[in-house]
């Protein structure tokens, strides 16, 4: 007896009528990400990083007194610190995730399995992007919930009660929301940067390397521009940093929050308007998206 290769006619009809769908492709992408050890290792690492500032605060000698004396400034500093940490380290997570989702598909050659089954290139790219955005939102929500929980625990440990939380006013919540918006802007720009680099290099190695190098490069770039300005006294070197993505994202809380907020990393060497900060970021996002879409759509798949 030999097993027949074909399915029975009813099953065959079911199999033949099936065609790739966007929800199916999205499910497939989420399934693949969930099966990668790197995803879970990065999540554990990110959780550890988010917990670290609270641990430091708990053992800081003057923390208890500061909380008791001025609960609102204390909590504002604490929340902004933790959101800044979330912004920076979720960026690393997303760059690695984007390389695993887009670059690795090219690197393993598995992209051809999917495309050769009639999956559209832009359909696949959109599904991948949506899967990454879904994970980004889960990280953001998870990070915020963890921060909220840890803040409550910290207040309870330092003060012995939660009365300090009564000091939180509408300005605090408004500023916190705007700070969260800066995280979302950073996440969006980071995902699009990763997508563009992986589409250019069509490999995880290139995509991850190029996108991880980007932000250190333009942060260090401001130092180089400072030196160039000091040597030449030409303001061009300062002005050009007003168009560097990394420093602008670092300084985004100062563009969005009414009285500014905690920032980490290099800033542009010139003062730029809030509008310029947002427009330059938007321009980078449009360019990254265009590069990723055009290269995905137009190039032959040789992998």
């Amino acid at each position: 007896m030999s097993t027949m290769v074909a399915a029975t006619s009813a099953r065959q009809a079911q199999l033949h009528s099936a065609t790739p769908s966007f929800p199916g492709i999205l499910r497939g992408e989420i399934f693949k990400v969930s099966r990668q050890w790197t995803t879970w290792i990065m999540l554990v690492f990110l959780t550890g990083i988010l917990i670290l500032p609270y641990l430091i605060m708990l053992i800081a000698p003057n923390a208890k007194a500061s909380l008791a004396a001025a609960p609102l400034p204390f909590l504002t500093d604490q929340v902004e610190t933790n959101l800044a940490v979330l912004r920076v380290f979720s960026g690393f997570f997303l760059l690695i995730l984007t390389a695993r989702v887009i670059g690795l598909e090219y690197q393993l050659g598995t992209i051809r399995i999917l495309l050769a089954r009639g999956v559209g290139r832009l359909q696949l790219f959109s599904a991948k992007l949506l899967a990454i955005v879904t994970f980004a939102l889960l990280i953001l929500i998870g990070g915020l919930l963890l921060d909220a929980l840890l803040t409550v625990v910290m207040v309870a440990i330092l003060a012995g009660n939660l009365n300090a939380l009564n000091a939180l006013n509408t300005t605090f919540w408004s500023n916190t929301w705007l700070y969260i918006v800066t995280i979302m802007i950073s996440m969006g720009a980071t995902i699009l940067l990763g997508a563009a680099m992986n589409a250019i290099g069509r490999s995880q190695v290139f995509g991850l390397s190029a996108s991880l190098v980007w932000f250190p490069a333009d942060n260090i770039g401001t130092v180089i521009m400072t030196l160039a300005y000091r040597v030449t006294h030409n303001t061009f070197w300062q002005n050009v940093t007003g168009y560097f993505l990394g420093p602008i994202l670092n300084n985004m809380p100062n563009y969005l929050l009414p009285k500014g907020g905690l920032t980490i990393g290099a800033f542009p060497l010139v003062t730029i308007s809030n509008t310029q900060g947002l427009l330059v970021t938007a321009a980078y996002c449009v360019i990254f998206a265009a590069v990723a879409v055009i290269l995905t759509w137009k190039r032959d798949v040789q992998e």
Partner: protein, 330 residues
């Protein structure tokens, strides 16, 4: 690859000798003037192919002949510079999304998610395709003999096992057309025999198999038709029988072969006659039929001991048509 009965599957006996693929006139894969340029280099040059339903179609050519480029164009991975590819009567440039789900493909080395198990690889592809039940995953794993290793990480698989999993992915949606690029790569001899049997069973079920392979003896054993390309051009497309018998010569065992050769060479139809390395007379026949050659020689006093139609194996044909697989088209 194992043959394990399953209540959910249709089963039937298929003795090897009775296997006779059912070829129909329906063209399931057709290329029309298919062309691909890479800058100045012409990788595929106005290629016209026709593959009929039920064919096991061998696609042969030396390295760099344009086989993989052709396959990639057929699967929509590479955009042709000119011409078109039709599968199941539909142009894939315009109807690829509808037609390609009915095509299973294995292109070059199997591309797999190395960090996942074999079963999860199939699940990932099934999820994208939609409508593939878990039972079908069991079926194809059984079919390629990987059920025992389905939970192991693919990164730990041997090349042959990866090849089997690649075939399982290709079969996942029970495709009408199967396009396999070097399917026997990495398989051991038993695996090659199983793969051959699988190809035959697929065609018995009305499927069409398009195989690109370097294993010419395998191609000769399993394929019904072959096309040979070289430098992007189609050199020949024919049935195996036509191709291996195409020279119309006969091998004659006869005493005084040298004298018989001189006699035949003096005939208007006998210029190509010669002696082979073993001293056998190789000669065309007056009318192309062996009986007429026999009659001619007998009447001339050279009674043949045996006359057999000269045949080449596919390897000899391939080397002859592709100038030893490396150079210009002959």
């Amino acid at each position: 690859m194992t043959d394990i009965p399953d209540a959910t599957l249709t089963t039937g006996s298929a003795p090897r000798a009775s296997i006779a693929p059912t070829r129909s006139d329906e063209v399931v894969l057709r290329t029309r003037n298919l062309t691909k340029h890479y800058g100045q280099r012409l990788a595929v040059d106005h290629l016209n192919l026709e593959v009929h339903q039920g064919d096991i179609f061998g696609f042969l050519g030396p390295n760099g002949a344009g086989k993989t480029t052709t396959i990639r164009m057929a699967l929509g991975l590479i955009t042709p510079s000119g011409g078109s590819v039709e599968i199941l009567g539909q142009d894939i440039a315009t109807h690829g999304a509808r037609i390609l789900p009915r095509v299973g493909a294995l292109i070059e080395t199997p591309a797999l998610y190395l960090y996942m198990s074999g079963r999860d690889n199939l699940r990932a592809v099934a999820s994208v395709l939609g409508g593939v039940p878990e039972q079908r995953i069991d079926t194809v794993l059984e079919l390629v003999g990987l059920r025992g290793r389905q939970k192991d990480r693919v990164g730990t698989y041997s090349l042959g096992m990866k090849q089997r999993l690649g075939v399982a992915i290709a079969l996942l949606q029970d495709p009408d057309v199967l396009i396999l690029d070097e399917p026997a790569n990495g398989l051991d001899p038993a695996g090659i025999v199983e793969m051959r049997d699988l190809m035959h069973r697929l065609t018995l079920e009305g499927k069409t198999v398009f195989i690109s392979s370097h294993l010419l003896s395998e191609v000769q054993q399993i394929c019904t038709r072959v096309a040979i390309i070289n430098l992007g051009k189609l050199v020949t497309e024919s049935s195996i029988e036509e191709l291996t018998n195409s020279r119309g010569e006969f091998t004659v065992a006869v005493e005084q072969a040298g004298e018989a050769l001189k006699l035949i060479q003096a005939q208007p139809w006998g210029g190509a006659a010669h002696l082979d390395a073993k001293g056998m007379l190789i000669a065309p026949a007056p009318s192309g039929r062996g009986r007429d050659l026999n009659l001619f020689l007998t009447r001339a006093g050279f009674v043949p001991d045996t006359i057999a139609q000269s045949t080449e194996d596919l390897e000899q044909v391939f080397l002859r048509l592709t100038n030893n697989g490396s150079g210009d088209i002959k």
